[in-house]
Symmetry: C2
Subunit: 460 residues, 2 copies
């Protein structure tokens, strides 16, 4: 495979830290010429003579022009991220200086790295398998505990390990069946059909579990869209504030990002909940249920993964709520009826709305039962707890390959039922192995790799 | 001084790279507890046992929760930027992860660093003098060759060295005169008044040179404002394009910054020229000379450091140009008359406008003599070449201190002329030493330092 891909024999350079002004910036260089190129620009020390994993302070120069006072991090192959010689230059964080240094390095014989090219090289050099490499991009994009944990677990090989396990068993059977083909005249069965049946059945069960985990994986990676709807004065705005007021992320302070006024984000148990059309709620303008039957309100609810219908327990009649629940049931999304202003006469209120199951009482104003509402929201969204030990599929490409794997395992089972000959069985098993290989990168082509890594950021 | 300032015995942490998403981000920790805090979060190795200036790859954990796969850069005191124990954590560039790590470190006993606090500690630990520390901020903000070079030179001690030289000589005389005071009864003169006079005179000359360099320093640091004015169809827009079309900075590509549509920036010989009201020129709407006499046009020209008056050599009459030059002379800014469309009948055109000195002929369309126009623009702005060897004052605080120094040296000279007694002379010399000390940081107070470093970015 390495031979086929080619072109990665050259030396690449890119800014590895976020663009813009910072105290420092890091420029990453990887490839055969990384050390000679930088050594030529760094008169203070002879870098080839230095040990791997060491730091060197000095002046970086290019053609006698001083560029910056820098710190060089030296990683010698194969003990580096890419598996090649890698140098990281920690320079002053002026974009002008970043540019000057990168330009000097490209003029010295390196070229600008493509997005994800460092990680692609790590994969090609066997430092990571493909599922691990893809988790690197997920980790950089992670914005909650759960997405960070899932990505970190996959970088450390969690997902790959469970696939590897399936794969090894299949390969064993595949080998046995291929062996039978060599003795086709003698009508032997090295591979016990009963054992194979049990294995493939077990594999299919595992594959189905992984496929099912994608719903959770998707929630972990992309969050849950929640629409808070209800009549004016039901308390939508108050509920929103109560939900948001605790534990505001300090990410925005650090990152200097501005909070999106259209979409508010809530982190419950490590899962991001994105509140749809929050601006509308804040302004008391967009009221959805008031215009029930109007296409637009359905549209908004269909956008959501969960609809949270808020009503005033005093003002709302039971029949009215029944009608609303019927409307909500017509949509294919999860919903929760939330009775607000329920901080007096709790028993009477419970009796009034006794015929509803999917109901939760709160007082948004007094922050009563809002915490348990959050837990219900989480439970509805992920169908139970997040099991941090289980392997979760978060990547759509993996999901697609797993679906195809499930299909080809079905073919194997069908073949066994029909007592097809060994050569047909071998074909179906090879097909299953192919889909498994797509995920971990044993089977890839250059276009596929380029596509996968093009979604990375530059410098990674 | 160190004792007075206090409070820097604690351990500080900050994001050192630009905020936002990057392949990696660097978090810097400095102080007595830097190594124990991070060691506690880094199970892979025992950091206190590791050598300074080494790199360590491993999992960062906080209370059993895995945070990220990171690289630790270890710098042991005093061999670090701040002079304290310093750890830099290179983590995946997700703002969420950056925040989690910083929060874990603050919960472990560090506090968030104030802007410039790392550099302030470097100063307090004697790693840099104040002028060098200030050059660090200039270096991060640098956006041209010249500003980068001036800052780099000052970080390496260029400015400090020349001040140090002045200071040492003054201190020697001060000591001699103070010695005289001890023998006041005996009427001796240890300090040769003639030598002192010569020294102070020389010092004053040097100080004046440094003061004069501030005009250049200011140009280097802040650029030159240029207004291109002229009638419609004089070719302003074409000239602008010709000026800008070469060597567009690739900084904007790397930094992801958007080009300001109001102000175009041109780099000539390492100096930034900022073209005022470029948007107006592009749109052919704002024409300044057409409305000569209108306050607004004067206002724009007064904003500029240089006015470039563009006229059509065919269409423009000599008398008209005379009137315009008179108007331009009334403004206290530099100006250059630029005859455009001068690519035919050059000799005739020269004769036609022979009575003007401050004149340059070009063809903007055919890129004729535009290069020499750039050189003239540079020469007008900086009164000659940039001497890269000379020390240039770029900092307004230093300029102010140098002005006060010049005043107090004047007092010393005056005192010598008037044959004042040694105690008065000593007083004036001490005053001069005080102003010199303000620049290099021998004399500072906490408020002053806080103010100086508050202009730094966080993490530096």
């Amino acid at each position: 495979m390495i031979g086929k891909l080619g072109g990665w024999d050259d030396t690449i350079v890119a800014l590895a830290t976020a663009p813009g002004i910072g105290a420092i910036a890091v420029i990453r260089v990887s490839g055969k010429k990384a050390i000679p190129i930088i050594n030529n620009m760094f008169p203070s020390k002879d870098l080839p003579q230095q040990a791997s994993h060491t730091l060197h302070v000095g002046l970086l120069k290019y053609k006698e022009e001083p560029l910056d006072e820098v710190v060089i991090s030296l990683y010698k192959n194969p003990r580096s991220y890419t598996g090649e010689d890698v140098i990281e230059i920690s320079c002053h964080g002026s974009p002008f200086i970043q540019e000057k240094i990168i330009r000097a390095i490209t003029e010295s014989g390196a070229r600008l790295a493509k997005p994800g090219e460092f990680t692609q090289r790590a994969f090609l050099n066997g430092k990571l398998d493909l599922a691990q490499a893809e988790a690197v991009a997920d980790l950089i994009a992670s914005n909650t505990e759960a997405s960070r944990n899932a990505a970190l677990k996959n970088i450390r090989g969690g997902f790959s390990t469970s696939l590897q396990h399936l794969r090894e068993q299949l390969i064993r059977f595949s080998a046995l069946i291929e062996l039978e083909l060599d003795f086709a005249q003698e009508d032997v069965e090295f591979a016990d059909r009963k054992q194979l049946y049990d294995l493939v059945h077990a594999l299919q069960h595992n594959t189905q579990q992984l496929l099912q985990s994608f719903a959770l994986g998707n929630v972990i990676k992309n969050g849950v869209q929640v629409a808070i709807v209800g009549k004016p004065n039901a308390g939508k705005s108050t509920l929103l504030n109560t939900l948001l007021n605790e534990n505001r992320a300090i990410v925005s302070d650090i990152a200097g990002t501005t909070r999106d006024t259209i979409e508010e984000v809530l982190n419950i148990g490590g899962v991001l909940f994105r509140l749809i059309d929050t601006a509308g709620i804040r302004e008391h303008t967009a009221d959805i249920i008031e215009s029930i039957g109007v296409e637009k309100s359905y549209e908004k609810m269909r956008q959501a993964d969960v609809v949270l219908y808020l009503f005033d327990v005093q003002e709302t009649q039971v029949n009215e709520l029944k009608l609303i629940e019927e409307e909500l049931k017509k949509n294919a999304v999860e919903y929760l009826l939330v009775g607000n202003k329920a901080d007096t006469n709790e028993e009477a209120i419970r009796q009034k709305f006794a015929l509803f199951n999917n109901l939760h009482f709160i007082s948004a104003k007094n922050n009563l039962h809002v915490d348990t509402l959050k837990q219900k929201l989480l439970a509805i969204s992920i169908n139970g707890d997040i099991n941090t030990e289980a392997t979760v599929v978060t990547n759509a490409r993996h999901y697609e390959a797993l679906q195809k794997l499930a299909g080809s395992l079905e073919d194997v089972l069908h073949g066994l039922d029909e007592h097809v000959t060994g050569d047909f069985l071998a074909l179906d098993i090879r097909q299953s192995l192919h889909y498994l290989g797509l995920i971990t990168g044993e089977i890839t082509n250059e276009d596929q790799l380029d596509f996968i890594f093009s979604k990375f950021c530059i410098g990674k």
